[in-house]
Amino acid sequence: MRNPLSDKITEVKPSGIRKFFDIVSEMKDAISLGVGEPDFDTPWHIRDEGIYALEKGRTFYTSNAGLKELREEIQKYIEKRQGVSYDPMKEIMVTVGGSEAIDVALRCMLNPGDEVIIPEPCYVSYVPCTKMADGVPVIINLKNENRFRLTPEELLEAITEKTKVLILAFPNNPTGAIMEREDLEKIAEIIIEKDLYVISDEIYSELTFTGEHVSIASLPGMRERTIMINGFSKAFAMTGWRLGYACGPEVILKQMIKLHQFAIMCAPTTSQYAAVEALKNGEEDVNMMREAYNQRRRYLLHTFEEMGLPCFEPGGAFYVFPCIKEFGMTSEEFALRFLEEEKVAVVPGTAFGDCGEGFLRISYAYSLEDLKVAIGRLANFVARLRENQ
């Protein structure tokens, strides 16, 4: 029988988180600091709107780009929060989570052999999606001493004749790093000079704790060069609703909507109605959740300081990325032993790129009570390792 598979997909490595997931799922009594989604339920008024949409029989396709009302709300929201305005009819599309937007944007922008610069550690899907779109991933290893921000020097070094796209994902999963206005201005200058494009994954934009989130699309000359991706999962605790969106210049969006139409038709209708309510009346909820995450962030940083575990102060998302190099173990060894001995699951930094070696991703999408128990066990574990050193 002929091989049913494409070479491309067989060459894509499975997610580094997968192996760990299987081990953790087997351990019934393990507690986890490994999730990448909010612990809050979707605020009730948003769920209620979804229920109402179902009751009303709004169970049909929407237009390919998404409900007009939702796109208009997205336009208002982005203009208010990021200071960039997009035409809701031509420059905004609603997608099945931010993930679909990443995939579609890459597939619409790359020709075979085009290079995509991906700063790591980062979310797991940029490299595989680039490969499936016939692009060539070029990795930049971000550094702890730069607080995992992308520097202009690092970017310049990675650019070649073939470079077309830079993927920027800040606030960052897994490091919690952010890029401030001055950082982005230097990057934007290079992007314009070298005639490149940016896919800016800003899914954690609402979870910025030190200052306000700045989108690179809002900088002069960058709107025409940026696909801004955002969504409802993190800000409004709506992961399971699978709803995101992309904003960008018409020339790219038109093709993205075309591909989305053939591959997906439209994002889930119920979710779109709920999302309208989220944007109209959800600001208070976002503020409440942001404050709760920020309190946990401070708590974790404090406890790391107490146990002498080095960790740069993350400005966003809901992760901390402490360094465990002193224990002379790989991230994976550390995470496995921690799981076996203390029954707490964390994600080794290497799941997000080779330069995550020596780090752990610890999620604080948990109640303070749960965090206290888990961090108490981390303190025990660390103390035991040091005793035996």
Partner: protein, 160 residues
């Protein structure tokens, strides 16, 4: 800082002072001073414990009583409210808009105890025109806390 402290201790008055300072990113002494000031100003009026009495062997009956009264010249509702809230068995007294004037909540050991309070003490007050008593059958949620169900984390244990 004041508002943030109140938001947290409204839900968890038992929180450790040190921990409160850490999560708010403030100095412990400043938080302590702010709380002391709020206690002195009467912003913080007390620290209570939310108890699900149904889970104990202690019998308790709670009731809401709607009271219609004649306001008194020069004093409005205040003096009649005072007459009512001085009874130790009364939990709360609110002045209401709408079809009645005062809402009184009350706890007693039995239906009989509550109803005798209403008939013997409350209804006999001169300015009270009428009362309507509602007994609480089950508390699902109290002070923003859901009592009927326990929270369960159904998320996948690891996600990217």
């Amino acid at each position: 800082m004041r508002e943030k402290i109140l938001t947290i201790i409204e839900k968890n008055s038992k929180i450790d002072l040190k921990e409160l300072a850490i999560i708010l990113g403030e100095e412990e002494i400043d938080v302590a001073n702010e709380i002391a000031a709020m206690e002195a100003d009467g912003v913080i009026c007390g620290y209570h414990t939310l108890i699900d009495w149904d889970k104990t062997s202690i019998e308790k009956v709670s009731a809401l009583i709607e009271v219609r009264v004649t306001p008194q010249r020069g004093q409005g509702f205040d003096s009649i409210a005072e007459r009512i809230y001085k009874y130790p068995e009364v939990n709360s007294v609110y002045l209401m808009s709408g079809g009645y004037d005062l809402l009184v909540t009350l706890e007693g050991k039995s239906l009989k105890e509550v109803s005798s309070f209403v008939s013997d003490k409350l209804s006999t007050l001169e300015t009270v025109l009428s009362t309507t008593t509602h007994f609480i059958l089950k508390k699902y949620k109290d002070h923003g806390t859901i009592m009927a169900k326990k929270y369960e984390d159904t998320r996948l244990k690891l996600t990217p």
